[in-house]
Symmetry: C2
């Protein structure tokens, strides 16, 4: 598939992906939801350093991009939980490559 | 390799990669250098919308991460050119996955 794309198309699709995963939080939020359904506070604790305002903004953007689902249980008080969508697993090949590259990049930079 | 990593290690390596490619410009700069050696002004023209200040900052960071090389020809006036390092091609599997994901994400979002 990639061979048929022009450089402009490649750049456009790359920009799309960068836009969706941009910033230092989104992929970390997704990874910390890997274990299953999470509440807001649980997410906030597992993603070190993220503020309430930023977490709610990132969750909204992840939801718009169909990567997470928000569930509201009509309990008292209301219970709001978040979970990965099946679609979010389409990110796995890319995230695995990013992890693999990050691991070897540390070694590369420590070379003289 | 990935299976042996803990979730913390995965997050650490992912953060490393995100740090190196972060922002909307770095990968676009690298892609526009794919054709060969470039001068600063050529790069600035081919990466739409980037300012001189931002381009020089991004080039420095790419150089520190061993992804590009800066060559200075002792001509009059001095000629400064930039080119990809062989090491930068280690990004290809990841960038290909990002392009592939971006292409299918457009289709996914256009579904009802």
């Amino acid at each position: 598939m990639l061979e048929e794309l022009t450089i402009q198309q490649k750049i456009k699709y790359l920009q799309d992906t960068l836009y969706v995963i941009s910033g230092k939080w989104k992929l970390l939020i997704l990874m910390s939801m890997y274990g299953g359904t999470c509440r807001f506070r649980e997410l906030q604790r597992s993603v070190e350093g993220i503020t309430t305002r930023v977490l709610s903004k990132e969750l909204k953007e992840l939801e718009v991009n169909k990567l997470i689902e928000r569930k509201i249980d009509n309990t008292y008080p209301v219970l709001i939980t978040y979970q990965l969508t099946p679609y979010s697993f389409s990110l796995k090949p890319m995230v695995d490559e990013m992890i693999t590259w990050g691991a070897q990049h540390r070694k590369e930079l420590s070379k003289p």
